[in-house]
Amino acid sequence: MSTNPKAHSQKYHISQRANQISPSGIRRFFDLLASMEGVISLGVGEPDYATPWHIREAAIYSLEKGQTMYTSNLGMPELRQELSRHIKNKYNLEYDPGSELLITVGVSEALDLAMRAILDPGDEVIMPDPAYVAYSPSVVLSGGNPIMVPTTEENNFELGAADIEARITRRTKAILIGYPANPTGAVMSRDKLAEIAKVAQRHQLLVISDEIYAALVYGVEHTCVAALPGMKDSTILLGGFSKAYAMTGWRIGYAAAPKEIIAAMTKIHQYTIMCASTMAQVAAIEALKAGDDSVAEMIADYDRRRLVMVKGLRNIGLSCFEPEGAFYAFPSIKGTGMPSDEFAEKLLKEERVAVVPGSAFGEYGEGYVRCCYATSLADIEEALARMKRFVSRHQKD
């Protein structure tokens, strides 16, 4: 490692654009974590299940058959058909498999493509803070400006339509939302989403909706933005397989959008990616065709652990917003008087529990930490016991 980062950046020219996005603020935390043993991590961001066997088996069989070639740029026709059927079943929304669906390398790629397809330099995208770490960089990398809207625990971390409207300028192109949310676990109610939809329609803005956690809701309904009246034409829906089907490592997801937008995204996709991995596409077909039961089982299990986590955090004396989706709890640590990165670092050093400081997700994540409950019940309980010791040592009031 270079001791003088400046010397390093002078040796190679790094583009302004790349320099514009800051490296993860918690590098030091990662390094510390890597050096320690016996750590229970609540910092993960993925299911603790391996992909259901029937899905893996379908992919293995496709390899045995020699299904190892490129697919169409848009993705395998059978997958797009299954996806179209799936979205229709779930939301009664029709997407043409031939022109309105694009299979991508995860929601990650779909998000990048969406931004590149719609933004010109200086264009603005309004999004919530705190939010998933890729949202703001995806805008910056396309030359745009992310405009943050604070969301708070008092408002259930929901994005307010009036707050959005107050930030609209003539450069505003889109509103980016992601509910159920990482890191808060918040789910937006249908009514609140409808208000945002109205704002988008009134100002002719696109809504980019990252619905990767759509399946993971507990006792509430997920509302698909594109399914709100009149919204299909102004929504870029991003969806995935990573979380619901425990398929993070396969790298597969999709975008559903008006055909002009899909065509623009496909142009970029075809030159940068060609097509999503064939093996992953085969697995995704099997997931859509026969994955419902495995998903239902996993959801039931997450829900049990969610209740254990939230109750446990509250018993420790941390106030914890009731998360209704994804697999994260987002307790407030304000009572300790520590900033979230200090809390996370000390907790790791003193009790060997890893949580993610809320500040990693934006300014308004400060005062919170993200605890993922997609981990074994035994680990959750042990982590809670360790956190209890820690908090009682450090609690200010």
Binding site: F29, L33, S41, G45, E46, V133, V308, V356
Partner: protein, 161 residues
């Protein structure tokens, strides 16, 4: 809610009442009441461990025995099945559709012991037409649990934002 409690217990019988209460959102007293009732009416039959005897020196031998029977007037299948399942050597007894009638899992210390049981106790029962014994060579999976070679949990990246 009873179903939810049963599912949790079926997966891990050692889950405490308190844990179940948290997982289901029911008061602990209600969970305790439902479990007690389920035990009483034999919805919950028993709590047992799934043991991998291959790991322990005193290994045992098991065999699956197909039993063909002639149901007898006024006696039917049930009473012959009962005569069989009352023997402690039989661990599982099912009535099946198909080419034979009962499937009986017999466990013993040696192959001899099992064979003797079949020839001296099972086969001579009135109404038993014939038996076919299949000795178990290896148990791969039992009661939803993979016995050996269960895939280890792959280590995840400790932090993903």
């Amino acid at each position: 809610m009873l179903k939810e409690i049963l599912k949790i217990l079926e997966n891990d019988a050692r889950t405490t009442t308190k844990q179940i209460a948290t997982m289901t959102g029911l008061p602990g007293t209600e969970v305790a009441r439902q479990i007690k009732q389920a035990e009483k009416d034999r919805t919950i039959i028993k709590y047992k461990a799934i043991v991998n005897w291959q790991k322990v020196e005193n290994e045992q031998v098991s065999a699956l025995i197909e039993v063909k029977i002639t149901p007898q007037r006024e006696v039917g299948f049930d009473s012959i099945a009962e005569r069989i399942y009352r023997f402690p050597q039989t661990r599982t007894v099912y009535l099946l559709s198909g080419t034979y009638d009962l499937l009986v899992l017999v466990v013993g210390k040696t192959m001899h012991e099992v064979a003797d049981f079949v020839s001296q106790k099972l086969a001579p029962i009135e109404g038993v037409q014939g038996t076919v014994s299949h000795f178990v060579l290896k148990r791969y999976k039992e009661d939803d649990e993979i016995i050996e070679g269960k895939e280890e949990k792959v280590k995840r990246q400790p932090v993903i934002l």
